[in-house]
């Protein structure tokens, strides 16, 4: 049986539907990626899986139970979230933050026991955060802080881990380190992973399955090779890309295309920023901004 099932989810805040008719099934131990343009509903979908938001239509089932029927702490024992960043106003040390992951197992009043400390310690070892266990979380770098947040999620001993653009503020080294760690946990501990990401290439490298969202609907889903195609990307993102193979892993690789001839034509028609469209300028722009969005 699938560990996570989404059944015909529809969600809106007040006006238009942010998500409509979303259905998928995730098997235990799989690594899923959710990609899509801004405002396509990626983060909303993640929040629905963790019942931060409740959909008006459809439902999410985890281990065959509708999450609406679960108590908050029961859900927190199944699902952990690694947020983009932690807004930390009050001084907590790293160890205290990671210990908070034990909260769903402890209830309101019970103090953390030996077992909780062992689990906390192990999560910190796995994420390489033990060496700064007693430092204030506010003093850490972005990459260190992100590892602390995974350590906290691991201390929850979840079956499913949700990542909300976890590498948005990290440099490429830390992005790769982060995803390597999650992949290891996914392979070795059988952790089911669902990650929202802007980075199509990272998703291609690490995910077993990818959902491509387009304005609240699933455009397509499947393996990276099935989803990451020039036609799909063009239809959803409205921009031309070149998809070839990553020379190392053989998986799809996306290269962005800056200001190609057809694009320039459409901009001319729109009459936007004419001085930018003179030949020399455009050329310079192309040289400067051709991104090599590869890892």
């Amino acid at each position: 049986m699938a560990i996570v099932q989404a059944r015909e989810i529809g969600f809106r805040y007040t006006g238009e539907w942010v998500l409509k008719d979303i259905s998928f099934e995730i098997e235990k131990g799989e690594f899923w990626g959710i990609i899509g343009p801004n405002a396509s509903g990626k983060t909303t979908l993640l929040k629905i899986i963790d019942r931060i938001l409740v959909p008006q239509e459809g439902s999410v089932w985890i281990n065959g139970i509708n999450i609406r029927e679960m108590k908050r702490d029961a859900l927190a024992r199944l699902v952990a979230v690694v947020p983009q960043e932690a807004p930390l106003i009050f001084p907590f040390c790293v160890e205290e933050i990671v210990l908070m992951g034990r909260a769903p197992h402890l209830g309101k009043l019970r103090f953390e026991g030996k077992k909780d400390h062992e689990i906390t310690r192990r999560s910190m070892e796995m994420t390489d955060t033990l060496s700064f266990a007693h430092r204030n979380i506010g003093e850490l770098s972005g990459g260190e802080r992100q590892r602390v947040l995974i350590a906290r999620a691991l201390a929850q001993e979840p079956h499913i881990i949700l990542l909300d653009e976890p590498t948005a503020f990290l440099d490429i080294k830390h992005q790769v380190n982060f995803f390597n760690l999650v992949k290891t946990l996914n392979r070795e501990e059988g952790l089911t992973v669902i990650s929202v990401t802007h980075d199509i290439n990272l998703a291609s490298l690490y995910c077993d399955r990818i959902i491509l969202l387009d304005r609240g609907s699933i455009h397509c889903m499947g393996t990276p090779s099935e989803v990451i195609r020039e036609s799909n990307i063009r239809e959803v993102y409205g921009t031309d890309v070149i998809v070839d193979r990553n020379p190392q892993a053989g998986l799809p690789r996306v290269t962005l295309v800056a200001a190609n001839p057809s694009d320039r034509g459409s901009r001319l028609k729109a009459g936007a920023a004419p001085q930018l469209l003179q030949f020399g300028d455009t050329k310079k722009e192309r040289i400067n901004t051709t991104p090599t969005d590869e890892i």
Partner: protein
């Protein structure tokens, strides 16, 4: 790394620190009992405290007995209760609003309570039991909702909202008191700067009982409060029923603020200074921070009140003068430091 694995360590840390702070509180209270226009000797005071209840005890003159038991002791107990209440409320508001500069006074919650209490007195509701504190609670809850609705997006907006609400409530208080001829209504200084000498013993007991109830409700939510401080969504993801927890905490903190204000007037900055000092000394874990702030807040207000009644011979200052003189510069210091 030494204490890493044995957690009862944290429990024993809570107990140790709080025993220490309780000792400080008793010492402060005792010294305060001896100090004043009429000086009382240490030995006599100690004996008086221990045996003074007996009619046969002759170690103190009748005048000294009256000073200790009828004047200073109730006032010290009340100062402790109010200090503990305001500090606890400060901890809770800072955590719920995730703003280390929040405080019942700065956010206008004390002002709202005072307006509620004054309206109760003006309309003559005082003969109904609990009506004045209930109206003070109502004033506090409405103010919290208002300030929070205005300033939830941005910490600075929150403080500005508090400033405006405070100015508004001060005006309302002055207006109501100027219009009223009620003999029960204390003067404007009482309401705006606080006075711990006017509470009747029944009021002191009532405030104490509700403080204990309110604190118990708050302490049950100490761990959820730790999680809420790191973000409401995070708290939900870690299993906290955030909406319900917040309602209980807002109500309990408003209740103890409202009660304290009903009988002591508006005493500022206690709820700002104490939680901040305690957080520096003990860390941010509310299971320790709450009782530590409770005890230290009690000691602080007893000291402040002792200074207020002794610093100028034969004159009593409102205790709010002392707390504001300490608190306002501290607030500016925190505001400029930007890390807490």
């Amino acid at each position: 790394m030494k204490n890493f694995l044995n957690l009862p360590a944290f429990l024993s840390r809570i107990i140790k620190i709080n025993l220490l702070l309780a000792t400080v509180l008793l010492a402060v209270a005792f010294v305060s009992l001896l100090v004043g226009t009429a000086r009382i000797e240490i030995i006599g005071g100690l004996k008086g405290l221990l045996y003074g209840w007996h009619k046969g005890f002759t170690g103190l003159t009748p005048a000294e007995k009256t000073i200790i038991f009828s004047i200073r002791l109730p006032r010290i107990i009340f100062a402790g209760i109010v200090g503990a209440a305001l500090s606890t409320a400060g901890v809770v508001f800072q955590a719920l609003l995730r703003n280390p500069l929040a405080d019942p006074y700065i956010l206008g919650i004390s002002g709202g309570s005072a307006v509620g209490a004054i309206i109760g007195i003006v309309i003559g509701a005082g003969f109904l039991p609990f009506s004045i504190p209930a109206l003070a609670l109502l004033g506090a809850v409405l103010t919290v909702s208002l300030v929070f609705a205005i300033g939830r997006t941005n910490p600075n907006t929150l403080l500005l909202a508090g400033v405006i609400v405070n100015a508004f409530f001060s005006a309302i208080i002055m207006f109501l008191i100027s219009m009223s001829t009620s003999a029960e209504l204390h003067n404007i200084t009482f309401w705006l700067m606080g006075d711990l000498s006017l509470a009747a013993s029944g009021e002191i007991i009532m405030t104490g009982i509700f403080l204990i109830i309110g604190f118990a409700v708050i302490y049950l939510e100490a761990r959820p409060l730790n999680l809420i401080v790191t973000g409401e969504e995070t708290a939900m993801q870690l299993g906290v029923n955030v909406e319900r927890t917040k309602i209980w905490l807002f109500l309990a903190a408003s209740l103890i603020t409202g009660l304290a204000v009903s009988f002591s007037g508006i005493i500022g900055f206690v709820g700002l200074i104490i939680p901040h000092i305690m957080r520096m000394l003990c860390g941010s874990d509310h299971r320790l921070l709450l009782p530590a702030s409770f005890l230290f807040g009690a000691s602080f207000l007893i000291v402040a009140d002792t200074i207020a009644r002794t610093i100028i011979p034969h004159t009593e200052l409102p205790v709010g003068v002392i707390t504001a003189i300490c608190g306002a510069p501290y607030f500016i210091y925190l505001l400029r430091r930007r890390t807490y």
